[in-house]
């Protein structure tokens, strides 16, 4: 027996390594929303390096934009863009609130509005591969972040947190193939599921008989337990009606430009 082990030592060791790799993968598949010690350690170790790189790139950007470019034009543009984003969000919120109000007026037991606790965070890295869509942010469990929290910007939803270390976390973007969000078409309240498809999203399970138009706003349904109700996901960009079947397939242009994310908000909890 010992001789056999000695003779085939390399093969046995390699088989053991392969078995370990398989076990780790199968275990991770079952616990995808948990952050393992290895992940925490690596994220913790690389977090200061990411911060240093972000600081350096910030300094360089400031140097370029504020000193080499025209100072006033740049500043005014930033201010106007901020105002535009604010007003756009307000407009969307008002439309949603108006519709919500008309429905809620009919109800007797109307509960109080909820306030949302938000935490701003900075995007410090993007996904290491081209086919997955995740980002790394500079806030972690020390700031009260846990797995499964909604991440948004003024234009709409960004994604949800999937891995948390003490000072950094990873966010699964809404356009990733693994992302599924309970959604509503705003004008006719059709329920559907928004799935990530890389550059765009698709809306599955939207009933075929429902009247849907190009440019219709799609919002979160608030039923998945992650995203609060009424946050913009995107607008319908293509309608595919097959010859038969119960549902129609809708393509969605996301309201957020996922390739240009810099600062995001994490919705910690909705408090009463």
């Amino acid at each position: 027996m010992l001789e056999f082990i000695k003779k085939h030592r390399s093969v046995l060791l390699f088989a053991a390594l392969f078995l370990c790799a398989l076990l780790l993968y199968s275990n991770s598949l079952r616990q995808q929303n948990r952050t393992t010690l290895f992940e925490q350690g690596v994220l913790q170790l690389t977090s200061p390096l990411y911060r240093a790189i972000t600081r350096c790139s910030d300094e360089l950007t400031i140097l370029w934009t504020d000193h080499i470019n025209l100072v006033n034009v740049r500043q005014r543009n930033i201010k106007l863009l901020k105002e535009l984003r604010k007003h756009r969000r307000q407009l969307l919120e008002l439309t949603e609130i108006a519709q919500e109000n008309s429905r809620l007026r009919q109800l007797l037991n109307f509960h109080q509005n909820t306030k949302i606790l938000e935490l701003p965070a900075r995007v410090i890295a993007v996904d290491a591969s081209s086919w997955f869509h995740t980002i790394t942010i500079d806030k972690g469990s020390n700031d009260g972040i846990t797995e499964g929290l909604a991440v948004v910007v003024a234009e709409g939803i960004v994604g949800r947190t999937i891995k948390c270390a003490t000072n950094s976390s990873r966010v699964l973007l809404a356009n990733d193939a693994a992302s599924e969000i309970a959604a509503l078409i705003q004008h006719n309240r059709t329920r559907c599921v928004a799935r990530g498809k890389g550059t765009h999203l698709t809306l599955d399970y939207a009933l075929r008989r429902k009247d849907v138009h190009l440019g219709d706003m799609v919002i979160t349904a608030g039923t998945g337990g992650v995203f609060p109700k009424g946050l913009p996901i995107g607008t319908i960009s293509n309608i595919i009606k097959h010859d038969y079947g119960l549902f129609q397939t809708l393509e969605l242009a996301p309201s957020v430009n996922f390739s240009r994310l810099e600062d995001v908000l994490i919705i910690l909890r909705e408090r009463p």
Binding site: F14, A21, L22, Y25, T46, I53, I124, D127, W131, T134
Partner: protein, 171 residues
């Protein structure tokens, strides 16, 4: 152990470049960790190399996708294939590394699609992965060529430096 540390530090530098600097400059970022695993496959002994490849794959998993161990298995299998084929070829040839980068990228895509179809819930993601194959091969190939050219330039510089030193010593 020293070598593991070297590969670990190289892995960190590559990951930092792959996740921060390169995405702001390029549409498709080169998979530097894959290129490192291919290099290990051609230059390291099988058993230690396999461990390095698996470790680097798991390291990549921390910064990509949702499942720890996916890239671990993929890099381990890529290492094995490269190591077995690499032994039959002339290792010093730059053409081997160029070929390895093309076949390795294609192999990685096939393995990713297979694992997502067999084990993952996101089995509908395979067209996304396949769509990225050609740009990924081109980017990885350009990166390998750039590294080879850089290596040649450095070697030439070093050679000219030693020649200068030799001339001075002769005088």
């Amino acid at each position: 152990m020293n070598q593991l540390l070297i590969y670990f530090i190289t892995g960190i530098i590559f990951i930092l470049a792959q996740t921060t600097l390169l995405p702001s400059m390029l549409e498709t970022t080169p998979n530097l960790i894959l290129l490192l695993v291919l290099y290990i496959g051609l230059h390291e002994p099988p058993l230690t190399g396999a461990f390095y490849a698996w470790f680097l794959g798991c390291f990549l998993d921390v910064f990509s996708g949702m499942t720890l161990g996916l890239y671990g298995i993929i890099m381990l299998l890529i290492f094995c294939t490269t190591s077995i084929i690499g032994r039959q070829l002339t290792i010093d040839s730059t053409m081997v590394m160029i070929g390895a980068s093309i076949i390795g990228t294609a192999g990685q895509t096939i393995l990713l699609i297979s694992t997502s179809l067999c084990f993952s819930e996101t089995h509908h993601s395979w067209p996304l992965i396949l769509n990225n194959l050609v740009p990924q091969i081109i980017t990885n190939l350009i990166t390998v060529l750039a590294i080879i050219i850089l290596q040649h330039l450095l070697r030439k510089l070093r050679q000219s430096g030693t020649n200068e030193q030799g001339k001075h010593a002769w005088r």
